[in-house]
Symmetry: C2
Subunit: 296 residues, 2 copies
């Protein structure tokens, strides 16, 4: 199933996305699930609610539902914490060289603060004066069940679903200190979505193609099979140190840009659009806007 | 004024701490402010509510109120984000050496996640297997009014008050990656409190003595006059990059341990207690407990 959070005049509501009568995303319909739960994270955390949502989706007449395009989506969940991995994809190495030779022993983990969260259609403001804003296309894991010191073999049981995060970064700020927070935490720098796909539709999270498209050019294209740390390991690992709660997001890092894209790279500016697409999940297109110089 | 959040069977409530008839902290009384606001951050954010709270405190008969010791305190606010500074106090330098010579150009900023927040009386669990847990006594600023790109001369207008944070750290995890998140974000690693003191009682945040006492020995003793980045600068600076919201906490870094304390230092263990005291604010005593090995 695909779960979304959509905005109404009375606040945000959870919904399921159903395929409409025609092929393609334009035909998608939305089923309001607010009779079953108030938040997507509650559906992910509670098997009984999830079963109710499945039944509702199976018995709904999709042709009678509003189109997905008629509603405005928020981030599919509101994470208490967004934990992100730095370097997690191996680069290309020549034949005969062990691709694991440079693997770090542990994932490098940083935090994006709640002000970074954006819905899938929300424009991301380029902060005034920012000169080096960049994108990172990432598979993001949404926690379903609380995870505290879970063994690796049980770790995927705590996954509520998968979505896409664009880990937008201000490289200038990121370089100015040892810690990356100010390069990662500008308002809106974590567009998330468009939906959470439940694990039954993503049987192997280590076999997904992550791609980024900018100006019609594929700038990133690499499988999650090339990550250093698997989703299961990362959930296990983080849960040794801190407790993961339903709705928390763990973003698994970005592959490097392709060599030609590294060559052609220019910082993001107002009007740019970046699409992150991941097999079995979907795609997240983010537009960037020149921030108004807000008054103090 | 001193604001606290206290726990009741019906949830958390805001309160004011009033001096009782006798001298000393044991005489403190608590005034329930839940008729005026539901959260301390709302009092700090809204001048009209703050004025009502002041009036209520001025007209209350302290002798008729319950003692502060009869209630259980939560963290005085529930911050949406906890932003912390790394290195921010100058060390001692020999006479004739410019103490500013090694000042960094920008503060080093990192994030503590919401699971770290603890009330002033909550024990902090030493995570299973942790071998190098340490304390850091810090002046913490609580944001009162939203701050977005504020000039330095207006920055203190956005401060709702001051409190104390013990930035508990697992040094072993902190050293394992470039980013410190896993060393800083174990559950309960941000005991906060006991109260928020409003700025009228802290006329100069750059003239406060920060001390830490462990096992009866003063291990840290340094004035906020020796910080590299003032509270006003830090609020200004952070607000250029992200929006600070009412209740957010900005912790201003810890002074180094005194030389003898560095020499005698041993990692924290279950049963240890650490007191952070800051002039004009108060003191925060945190006990550490051996974590139960929670079942997965």
């Amino acid at each position: 199933m695909r779960f979304v959070t959509f905005r109404t005049q009375d606040g945000e509501r959870p919904g399921a996305v159903l395929s409409g009568p025609d092929a393609g995303a334009d035909s998608d319909r939305i089923l309001d699930l607010s009779d079953i739960a108030s938040r997507v994270e509650d559906l992910l955390a509670d098997g009984a609610l999830l079963a109710q949502a499945r039944t509702a989706a199976e018995t709904a007449d999709a042709t009678a539902l509003p189109s997905l395009g008629s509603v405005r989506l928020a981030g599919p969940v509101t994470p208490g914490k967004i934990l992100c991995l730095g370097y997690n994809y191996r680069g290309h190495v020549p034949d005969g060289v062990d691709p694991r030779a440079d693997d770090p022993e542990w994932p490098d983990v940083f935090v994006k603060t709640p002000n970074t969260l954006g819905g899938p259609s929300d424009a991301v403001p380029i902060p005034p004066g920012a000169t080096d804003v960049d994108y990172e296309g990432e598979l993001a894991v949404v926690i379903g069940r609380r995870a505290q010191r879970v063994p690796i073999e049980d770790a995927l049981d705590h996954v509520g679903g998968y979505t896409i995060l664009n880990d937008v970064s201000d490289r200038a700020w990121q370089r100015r200190q040892s810690q990356w927070a100010l390069g990662k935490c500008s308002d809106g720098f974590a567009p998330l979505g468009p939906w959470v796909v439940t694990p039954d539709e993503v049987p192997d999270p280590q076999n997904l193609l992550v791609e980024v498209v900018r100006d019609g050019v594929v700038t990133v294209s690499q499988s999650t099979s090339t990550t250093i740390f698997s989703v299961a390991f990362v959930i296990h690992h983080l849960s040794q140190v801190l407790t993961l709660e339903p709705g928390d997001v763990v973003s698994t890092g970005t592959p490097q840009k392709l060599p030609a894209a590294q060559e052609a790279h220019r910082p993001l500016a107002g009007g740019d659009a970046v699409t992150v697409r991941i097999s079995r999940i979907g795609e997240l297109t983010t537009t960037f806007s020149s921030a108004r110089e807000a008054a103090a």
